[in-house]
Symmetry: C2
Subunit: 185 residues, 2 copies
DNA sequence: TACACAATTTACCTATTGGTACACTAGTAG
DNA sequence: CTACTAGTGTACCAATAGGTAAATTGTGTA
């Protein structure tokens, strides 16, 4: 009998992909069980809070990833312009050039927004603030930096929506080019 | 016994609001029954295809509204710059300054995207094309017009996501100002 | 006045939902 | 060798899901 012991850390990325594909309501425990290869027993062992805790864990991991790979580099870069450039490339890679949905953005439009309002808000607020900080240190004034950061974060989300709606990844790539050009101008 | 006869045309806007609030999967027939004040019998009388037909009807009505109020004016305007300006105002009003979600955008991020792929695609393609046409006739070259139109449509969606995520309508208003300025530059 | 038909109510159906209870297995520490 | 524990599998649960069937109501028209 295969006992193949699992770990929480291995499950969360799978959960993330499931929520991305099906949304919160659309991701049933049956689907989750199939895709993770875990029975309900194991699932509720790792996530006693059920689906809600699973989604929270996914959001926490996403936040940790962005903190480590996007926000902190932007905040702490000695070379802010290079950090901005690096952000653009990381983002393009992370979202598979627009073929991958932003789970936080999707949750924001869904009715689960209320349940995870804080996570969702922080995700975008942190992004905007860290980017604004890098722009500030690259020589812009505070107002321009804040405005440009807000526009960029917003545009990335819009490009993800449009790319997916049109089924055309090039929409996202064009948007990222525009954003990078404008950030470095 | 109150018989209060209903009409399909009266129901669709209510359905639209329900789908906006709860998403496709999240909008149960129970909720729909409550909010419309109609039993399942009436609902299936008007929409024999069930939930899917209800959503399709909503998307069709949205498309018709945009065709009449946004796309056609852009395409047929004798004064294209004024039409672009009018579009910006209509859009701001339609989305309640970012407090109201774009159902088509939300569906695009959801897993129901596949089911309504054509509607969703057309909505954005038509918007982009009609806007590009107005820009073209306002004196821009074809490439600039197409690019700027794509960027604008994309930015509107992004602004809706971000405004809702942050619970801050001013994000949307700033975005619309930027877009209008750039379109009329 | 009676017919036809649109609209509605009510009752019912099966599958699935998220969640619980609990017995069980396999390592591991003493 | 034994006791403990993290992880697993199975069976079960009430509630709800979307959907169906048919009897009933009212209303405009001939």
């Amino acid at each position: 009998m295969a006992k193949t012991v699992a770990e929480r850390a291995d499950i969360v990325p799978v959960l993330a992909e499931i929520f991305r594909e099906h949304g919160y309501e659309g991701a049933s425990l049956a689907t989750i069980g199939d895709r993770t290869g875990l029975g309900k027993g194991s699932l509720y062992h790792f996530f006693p809070g059920g689906k809600e805790e699973m989604a929270a864990a996914v959001l926490a991991e996403i936040d940790a990833w962005f903190e480590a790979n996007i926000y902190r580099p932007l905040r702490e870069a000695t070379e802010p312009r290079a950090a901005v450039e690096a952000m653009c490339h990381s983002v393009t890679e992370y979202f598979h050039s627009g073929r991958r949905v932003c789970l936080v953005g999707a949750f924001a439009l869904d009715n689960v927004r209320d349940r995870f309002a804080n996570c969702i808000k922080d995700y975008f607020a942190d992004w905007q603030e860290s980017l604004a900080q890098a722009l500030l240190r690259s020589g812009r004034n505070a107002d321009d930096a804040a405005d440009l950061a807000e526009e960029s974060v917003s545009s990335i989300q819009g490009a993800l929506v449009l790319a997916r709606a049109l089924g055309d990844a090039s929409v996202f790539e064009r948007a990222m080019d525009r954003i990078e050009r404008r950030l470095l101008a």
